[in-house]
Symmetry: C2
Subunit: 146 residues, 2 copies
DNA sequence: ATATGTGCAAAGGGTTTGCAGATAT
DNA sequence: ATATCTGCAAACCCTTTGCACATAT
């Protein structure tokens, strides 16, 4: 589990732990993802280019795939939009604004967890990961006049 | 809200209600989606072709878009897979098997709803739709020896 | 009658792949 | 030293678009 805003050294350790070499491209990528919280591939490419203009799109894709496989990055599929990606952390809820697209994290509390376990028992379904997305309007988009 | 297994006449009414003409292509599509529960675009194309071989892929895409816009069909984005689509019904939970890909519906109960409302109040976030996907292993994939 | 919808084929855009040269360990 | 990684460009999807013909109302 990685927390937001970790520094390079810690990303190095994370990569090492899953057997991936700590290349500049990978470190920049993790920095970008960690800093943003959640981000699309396109935005990753743009952001990474700011500090390392020569990184290729292919490299970004290859690395995202590897990081997904190794579990250090997680996909957030979103209705009507491209998926976003985030560094692996505790399961939590996403509040997704259908107007501006902003994604906010919300802690998944204990009562919720119990609820999830209930579903397990009931259906003989072994849950390994929960993905809770609530779509609606963020505070800004509720109040701003269009 | 549409229930699974409605017949042609009812699909006609649904289409009329949102101002879409009741073409054979659309009726077949709704039938296929309704019958399957949840289905990918590719599988829709295959299934529709069985009863109506001349329907074009472009038509399927155009119709899915329109049905999403008009709200009679809903997208289910899934981690690491293509999105699936279902006819609009009450919000519910999806149990997604990460092994065989099977998607099962689970009723969203009242306690859950209260929880969602709590998030609203707390964050001034106006929820319009909830999407809860639980990933794991279905009963079959837990027991089958590989 | 006419506004919509369909099918075709071409265009578009995002993602993947293969390979030679570069890099981390 | 060498297994792994990067960048490039081509290949590959899946999805969208434009247009002439067909269809639902």
């Amino acid at each position: 589990m990685i927390e937001r805003g970790k520094m390079m050294k810690e990303y190095r350790a994370v990569l090492k732990a899953v057997g991936l070499k700590a290349t500049i491209q990978r470190l920049k990528l993790m920095e970008v993802i960690g800093h943003s919280g959640h981000i699309t591939v396109d935005d990753m490419v743009v952001a990474v280019h700011e500090s390392h203009p020569s990184i290729s799109v292919a490299t970004v894709y290859k690395n995202i795939s590897q990081m997904l496989e190794s579990g250090i990055v997680v996909e957030i599929p979103i209705v009507g939009q491209k998926s976003q990606y985030e560094l692996k952390k505790m399961d939590h809820i996403h509040l997704i604004c259908t107007d501006c697209g902003f994604v906010e994290d919300e802690q998944l509390d204990i009562a919720f967890d119990q609820k999830l376990n209930y579903a397990v028992t009931k259906d003989s379904f072994l849950i390994t990961r929960s993905q809770i997305n609530l779509y609606g309007l963020c505070y800004n988009c509720q109040t701003v006049v269009k």
